[in-house]
Symmetry: none
Subunit: 258 residues, 2 copies
């Protein structure tokens, strides 16, 4: 498979970036490694001359960057998302080192999936609700007492690992394996489809009076983690939606009759 085809399936998503210079440096870092799919979620300032200056010629990456209001929109169409995180978090999703994360990202891209690599704000990183939209976390193995890489440095490390893995595979001739034609029902549901399911699930839990004083947020985070791990296919989501709809129907009758 041509590197350019894989590039089309690998999206770098920068979330709430504060310094536009970092957006430029990240674009340059991606471009040196052959990647150009950049999504900016709620950047503080963009476009900006500082970004262009630090892109150092990678203006094409900035010029065609997709700009979105929130991470859900930024993940549209993707089926596999890896969030970069310096710290171990309350969100209990698998933690991978860059090499393992990149191997999983490339395996998914080779199957035809759209993959997102998600980088948080410079100071605060990814919020828990943003990380909870990711299937796994990549932790760059920094030292404990000085753990925070500059944003564009983190992008460089991931882009470098991606390219190293691609070149190693190319050397092994993996690239020539014919690509499987995927049944759209058989690929994991994308981020939007999953969000619709989680919304439906949340409504149903309300309808059947599940929460009873417990925090809906905590429960939903736990359920989110469980289903992200399962990576449901579209047809599986359809079954789950059907079950939820029937539970809601029962709740509606029960409430009417109360």
């Amino acid at each position: 498979m041509a590197l350019s085809e894989l590039n089309d399936r690998l999206r770098f998503v920068l979330v709430r970036t504060s310094h536009s210079g970092n957006i430029g440096s990240a674009a340059r870092a991606m471009r040196t490694m052959g990647f150009d799919q950049l999504t900016l979620v709620a950047p503080h300032r963009f476009p900006d001359p500082e970004a262009t200056a630090l892109a150092a010629g990678a203006d094409d990456v900035l010029g065609k960057a997709s700009i979105q209001d929130d991470l859900v929109a930024g993940l549209t169409g993707t089926t596999f998302a890896l969030g970069l995180s310096a710290r171990r978090r309350g969100v209990n999703i698998p933690e991978l080192d860059p090499r393992e994360g990149v191997a999983q990202a490339l395996a998914a891209a080779r199957r035809g999936e759209q993959v997102a690599l998600v980088f948080g704000n410079e100071r605060t990183g990814l919020e828990n609700d943003e990380l909870s939209r990711c299937h796994a976390m990549i932790r760059i193995p920094s030292v404990d007492d000085f753990s925070s890489l500059n944003l564009s440095q983190a992008v460089q490390v991931v882009a470098y690992e991606l390219r190293s893995a691609l070149l190693a595979d190319e050397a092994k001739d993996v690239a020539r394996v014919p690509e499987a034609v995927l049944d759209p029902d058989e690929v994991p549901a994308d981020a939007e489809q999953l969000e619709r399911f989680f919304t439906h699930l949340g409504q149903t839990l309300d309808d059947i009076e599940f929460h009873k004083g417990r925090s809906p947020v905590t429960i939903m985070l736990k359920l989110r983690k469980l289903f992200l791990r399962a990576r449901p296919e579209l047809r599986e989501l359809r079954i789950l939606h059907g079950i939820l709809a029937d539970a809601q129907r029962m709740a509606e009758i029960a409430h009417k009759k109360d």
Copy 2:
């Protein structure tokens, strides 16, 4: 061997750096990966507030940096030097990728040698006479049409590869550490616990009248596959049992009132 001992034998040498901000970013990049031996050969301006600002707290690395007039002085005491280069050069020395280069650097450091990693000027790289003082060249595998990494990004990639190799070596020594005691809630549920869940799920689907002429067997097989893939933990199963119980309660009220 302690990482700190190896750190003492690994020197990052920046040659004729033009932008003092890059010196600061390089110091930060080194520090995140646990390295602090920095040598500056004929920097254009140092010390400089821009360097301190971009070091982002890695001031200790800048504060004890060694400043030298030329590369020969910068390499004093070293026995093995690797020069970073983006381009293939007239100088005929072995060209390594970062992983191979780092493996050789660590092998030398483990033998007690002092090792230098040498980074040239931002625009011109290392001159041929500087490269000719190196035992081998490390080429970061950038794309041909946009090959120039920012200086501090190159430092980050090399420092990251060093730390990854050190941790991998450590892990091999660590294999004998006794296994952590696992919280039973955090291990995937066992087969019996899963069966109980599937039985409960099947009953609930009956209660909420989900099947409607479709084969319960097929649906249950599909749901089984989905949940097996997720490998739920015991506490996750408890949440799912709770949801099913509430859906059943609603169905019971609805049926009574029918």
